[in-house]
Symmetry: C2
Subunit: 511 residues, 2 copies
């Protein structure tokens, strides 16, 4: 047998899956770690924890799959975007890994937006100006931790760190690079304007490689532990976002991947880099010829959790006593409310928002309340609000990537038939639910197969991903949503100027 | 002993109280009746039911108080405003009494607002252009029920009807007249522009009298039933709104009466009629020299009931099982949330709104939601929203009647210490809670004593009304509210243009 391993380094755990060359899952493993939040807005991980987790899950799938010598044809990597680790002159980490969720650079991304430099840099890098991006983070460290900044030999990300530990060399592929805010997506080079702004040189950044590039010669200590010989190629791979598109078979033009988990995203593959005139979309590399354009949203399932915890506390207890999921009960409740929630609209910005409005101050709201509205209406309105917001992201994408042909939906949201139908009705698109098990791992493995010549084309993924369900838009519901959407959009606009004032009140007064 | 009876004809019941000449309650009675709502927006009462109720409660207090011949010095009346009854040539009702809550004339008040004629008429009558007013109602009947309109000999109100039944003559005092939208408050006459618009003449309206005018010679049948001789004077009295000001001792300049029951109102007495340049305030007569200027709000305790019924259904059951009031539990919950609800703002327009925005399409909203907000925050925000709205009415009144000196608070809201304190903090005013038992009845009785020469001045009411409690503004809370109010006001403005669109959606789709 021939095998390929896909590894996905996520924010709370690292997963690995052993596949045969048809994409069939042979074995899988998962290892979690801590997210450090010592001070407000911090979200860090210990790089050592992550490295241990990678070794752990690799070892597990090799053992579980009883992989024999010579059968492992490659290991390919997916990883969360935007992480930053500062390395010192002795190649030791000066910091933990500062993750995408860390918000401490907010002041600096605000400044970049306000002074217009952000827009110039975005137009070349395709990374929205936001505290998530290493661009903002390095600016923050330069200004607020100058000692650390001066001691830094290399600014790298988590995946680069893992490869450094395994192969002793600092290399970053285009996909992760394209999410740093410092990489020119049109020239495939580090962008001088960004580097000048930060006061750093290309020497302080990893060497750039292609996602399909490979490396051999694993450090013999780890090779021994894992039972991997020096000749097994490791594929640099790409970021989890773009690989998830591949892993759910949303790789053809016009096939849109909509993911709603805790947060959410809308993404589509295009064949060359594009940027949005208003800076609301990202454009990240999958390979040199395939780019993923899209928008990430903060407020996905986390909004539904708020509804469950804060609006429905007593039912929660009942549900726990009955040993069923509160979410299932709430979904049943929402199902009884007609599409459009009898004119109750919800803007889901409980935790600020990235796409489509890129406003960290954004807050949630209900509008249109009458005495006939019940908590059940609030539940449905919350779900609809999450999907309206994603639909606005979709409209923005349409502006640069054209009309969608179909939707591949994944994430926790896709497990509910009600939610899937809501997605089809609001997007007015067929919604396909791919069989999706660790899609970023599969994406990494497929990219690896392509890199190593086992398949000719990434679209071979088609035969590896089954279809669980397809939902067609319901004409009646669709009409209702079409009446409400313009109101929802106009409300977004008029509420926006008040987000900052209420957020500042909350910052000052809320303990 | 000498006695005075105050009768208050309300929307769901008629009350009567027998007082001694010091304002002490000797006996009281109450008789309810049905509100007819056969079709949407209808709210009618049967005049015969009301007449029976008046006879019933008068008889009861006379019997309960063991009033001896010669001891009853007068009977004085309070009544709900804006009611309309059409009488035919044989002095029989052509319609039920169409009450203030009836909304079927909405189209016509909208038209009057849109074509500017409403503003001209308001400037002379002091009655906001609204479906509640007989002006709009007669316009509706003229256009949609022309046969009824043509058969009408007299357009009268409920109190006029009662006096007609008792004394055989159609007389309407200035106070009720000033709430018809057809009475010139500066000239104390029916307004020709209004009558021309409606195509009616003064002959079709009752003769105008002063609130302090009296009449004797009760129909002997009813006199016998009640044990009232023909010489007992009946005082025409005034409307329940203005008499309630009198009855809670909010009669001096600058003493503001804030009432929050199911709906709410802010009212202050001035010494001559005034109108608001923007048509947002009413100005109704108490006597020729005392006018009550203010704003009525739809969304008072009814909002809190919605919170109880729709957001807190399970606690409601628990509370009922525990045999305590859900409202008390919710108030305790709200008390634990800091002033300002951690930046959660609520606009209470669940049922459209009269003052301060006069927009039947208005809808409720929550703004500023974060994941830290709980249902408890929603409860407190709802209460605060009710009071913010009343405060905006107060600011409008200030514009025409000057700064308030103190607040007299009444209604269900005033029973809770938390709510009273909220009122003091948001208004930044001392809030006095008068001992208030059927304040409109007391107001009617005091007006009767004044009319009949038993007291020299209405301010004699001071010695008849005790004080239950006084709340002083809490400086810290006050500061918080002062930060939030400008945001709340700006939100009101930006949300306003969307009320009509969502209300029309709801009208079309909500079953």
């Amino acid at each position: 047998m021939e095998y390929m391993i896909g590894v996905d380094i996520g924010t709370t755990s690292t997963k690995s899956v052993l596949y045969d060359m048809k994409g069939k899952v042979i074995a899988h493993a998962n290892s979690g770690y801590q997210l450090y939040q010592d001070v407000p807005d911090m979200a860090e991980e210990d790089p050592e924890d992550i490295f241990d987790a990678v070794i752990e899950v690799l070892g597990q799938v090799i053992r579980k799959g009883k992989v024999q010598k010579g059968e492992l044809k490659g290991v390919s990597f997916s990883s969360a975007m935007h992480s930053l680790i500062l390395m010192d002159q002795d190649d030791q980490p000066l910091t933990r890994a500062i993750t995408w969720a860390d918000n401490r650079a907010a002041k600096y991304s605000e400044e970049l937006k306000a002074n217009g430099i952000g827009a110039e840099i975005y137009a070349k890098t395709g990374t929205p100006i936001h505290p998530m991006a290493p661009l903002s983070k390095i600016l923050w460290i330069k200004n607020e931790k100058p000692d650390l900044f001066k001691k830094t030999k290399k600014f790298i990300d988590l995946k680069t760190y893992i490869f450094f530990r395994l192969f002793g060399t600092y290399k970053m592929e285009y996909s992760i690079a394209s999410a740093t805010g410092m990489f020119n997506i049109f020239k495939l080079k580090w962008e001088p304007q960004a580097l000048d702004l930060l006061g750093i040189t290309t020497d302080q950044l990893p060497e750039l490689v292609e996602p399909t590039d490979t490396i051999t010669g694993i450090n013999s200590n780890y090779g021994k532990v894992l039972g991997i010989t020096k000749d097994v190629p490791f594929v640099f791979g790409a970021s989890d976002g773009v690989l998830s598109n591949l892993g759910v078979n949303a790789i053809d033009p016009g096939v849109v991947a909509v993911t709603i988990g805790t947060s959410g995203a809308v993404r589509v593959v295009v064949d060359k880099p594009v940027v949005d005139p208003n800076g609301r979309l990202f454009c990240y590399a999958l390979t040199k010829d395939k780019w993923v354009v899209g928008g990430p949203v903060n407020n996905g399932g986390i909004v539904f959790r708020w509804v469950k915890d804060q609006l429905f506390a007593p039912e929660k207890i009942t549900a726990e006593q009955m040993q069923v999921s509160t979410y299932d009960i709430l979904t049943q409740i929402a199902e009884k409310i007609p599409a459009g929630s009898d004119g109750l609209l919800f803007h889901p910005y409980l935790g600020g928002e990235r796409a489509p409005i890129w406003d960290a101050y954004a807050r949630g709201s209900f509008f249109g309340l009458t005495r006939k509205h019940t908590r059940a209406h609030m539940v449905r309105a919350a779900l609809e609000g999450i999907v309206y917001n994603l639909y606005i992201v979709m409209l923005t994408i349409e502006g640069v990537a054209g009309k969608p042909k179909s939707i591949q939906a994944t994430g926790g949201f896709a497990r509910s038939a009600l939610w899937r139908q809501m997605l089809a009705d609001i997007f007015e698109q067929d919604v396909t639910i791919p069989e999706s098990f660790e899609s970023s791992c599969l994406g990494a493995a497929v990219l690896g197969m392509y890199a190593l010549g086992y398949i000719d084309d990434l679209s071979a993924v088609k035969d590896m991903v089954g279809v669980t369900d397809v939902h067609k838009p319901n004409e009646e519901n669709f009409q209702v949503y079409r009446e409400l959407l313009p109101i929802w959009i106009r409300l977004s606009r008029v509420l926006e100027p008040e987000y900052k004032s209420i957020a500042e009140f909350q910052k000052k007064h809320v303990k």
